[in-house]
């Protein structure tokens, strides 16, 4: 074994000062990139997220309108009307047809996938804190957070520049902030707004709904955060292609990456 480090996804990030330990990229053909926990939780989360997205979209079609506050129904003015066809003939959509009702399996799948996502997320968070994954790989160094650094990083992303060799072994500051936002802001908000819609859950924890401003506000925010997560997913996948699809996928599947492959020389 070329390394006995428990986490091998630390690297020589030029852009991130916090990852500067051990700055030489070794000559080994395939270097350890992502730990097993990171890889397994990444793909389970991917699976759960896609299941939640499909089933959630299906559920929205039974009432493709959003409201603010506690109550909202077809007798109230929506805050946002998606103008989509609906699977219920009680919703005035303007379309001359009604979609088939898919809410039975959609709701079953949604909650089962939610349990999977939450369980996986807890495992990942526990590992992230205990094994130092967050500290080493995600929390940016203070020096990375200057406007100049961040705008430079953003410009390189917007030019679809392939990352330098060093960046293939670490995350750039913008990437770190995006991942932190997803892990510590968007996912927790998703769980909170989801639970705030459950009348069983809010009977025991009424503040989950009250603090948000009501059950319908929770539903609208749940939808808004979904859009943000889908935006993240799109950018994430585009960036994987920009950075070298084969090498990045290999790293997230096998844990190892070729230091010379798929990287701008």
């Amino acid at each position: 074994m070329s390394t006995s480090l428990p986490i091998a996804d630390r690297g020589a990030g030029e852009l991130s000062a916090s990852a500067k330990l051990g700055s030489a990229v070794p000559a080994a053909a395939h270097k350890k990139r992502h730990s097993a926990v990171v890889r397994v939780t990444h793909w389970i989360t991917t699976l759960a997220f896609l299941a939640l997205l499909v089933s959630g979209g299906e559920i929205v079609l039974s009432h493709p309108r959003f409201y603010w506050g506690e109550t909202g129904n077809v007798n109230e003015r929506p805050l946002l009307n998606l103008h989509l066809p609906s699977s219920r003939d009680t919703v005035p959509t303007g379309y001359g047809y009604v979609l088939p009702d898919q809410n039975g399996w959609s709701r079953y799948l949604h909650f089962q996938a939610a349990w999977l996502a939450v369980g996986t997320g807890l495992l990942y968070a526990l590992y992230g804190f205990l094994a130092g994954h967050f500290r080493r790989n995600l929390f940016p160094a203070a020096s990375d957070l200057s406007g100049k650094q961040l705008s430079g990083s953003l410009l390189r992303r917007l030019r679809f520049e392939r990352p330098g060799k060093e960046e293939a072994w670490s995350y750039n500051p913008l990437q770190r902030l995006a991942y932190l936002a997803v892990i510590f802001v968007l996912f927790p908000l998703m769980i909170w707004t989801g639970l705030a819609m459950s009348m069983g859950f809010t009977s025991a924890f009424p503040l989950t709904a009250r603090l948000l401003g009501g059950q319908q506000t929770a539903r609208s925010l749940h939808f808004l955060v979904t859009i943000l997560l889908v935006l993240f997913l799109l950018i994430h996948v585009v960036m994987v292609f920009v950075a070298g699809f084969r090498n990045r996928m290999r790293a997230m599947i096998t844990g190892r990456a070729n230091p010379t492959d798929g990287v701008k020389s």
Binding site: M1, I59, N75, Q112, W115, M199, S203, A204, Q215
Partner: protein
Amino acid sequence: MSHIPRRRFVTTGLAAVAGASGIAVAAKVAQHRGLIPPDGGGLYGPGETLTYAAQRLLTRHSMAREFSRSEISGNPFANEVDPLGDQFKQLQSAGFVDWRVTVDGMALRPASFSVGEIRSFPSSTQITMIGCEEGWTYIAEWTGAPLSYILDRVGALPQVRYVVYRSIQPDWWESIDMADALHPQTLLAHGMNGKELPVPFGGPLRLRLPRQLGYKNVKYITRLTLTDNLKPFGKGRGGAASDSGYAWYAGI
């Protein structure tokens, strides 16, 4: 160099064994404590069981959120029902005086009550939200006889585990566990917003269960059956909704 992989192998093995036996023990305890829902098998059984068990552990005695009078929806949405049959229309034209609710099954004193009798029972009033699985909600003031009072009156046997309730509408029935059946907010509702419960909202009698979704709040109740086993009812999944692919427990 090799001690870390070996240690890892041992810890992973121990974790796997502990995890598997943990799940087995949890399943036994859940079964014993009645935390497995009637639709707890099959593809979505694990998620459904986790949801039901977790909510039962957290919410057995918790009260659905109540609202202030000013939060009552001015224009509530009744949702549609299948066309009401001739039997319903006959009873309706007579002002529901002959509408009866039969209570049978595991009771010492099975009985049949008229709407008038149920209106004369001790009543409870709540301002609660009704939410549909589709996503919409409204708030109303509901008045009715607590189901726990009716169960008490007919002498429900201690081994009763579920109450099955039926509508006058064909194939419209659901069931709840005793945590919900004995819950103080579970009503056989006969009033809404200070008036008699209007027909579109389930009048003359609707099972009001504010901690669960609208589809468990069955309209036009004619029969309550006390049982310790849901298998003989329908397809054995505890309700018309769960027989047609919806979750039996609708607290989420």
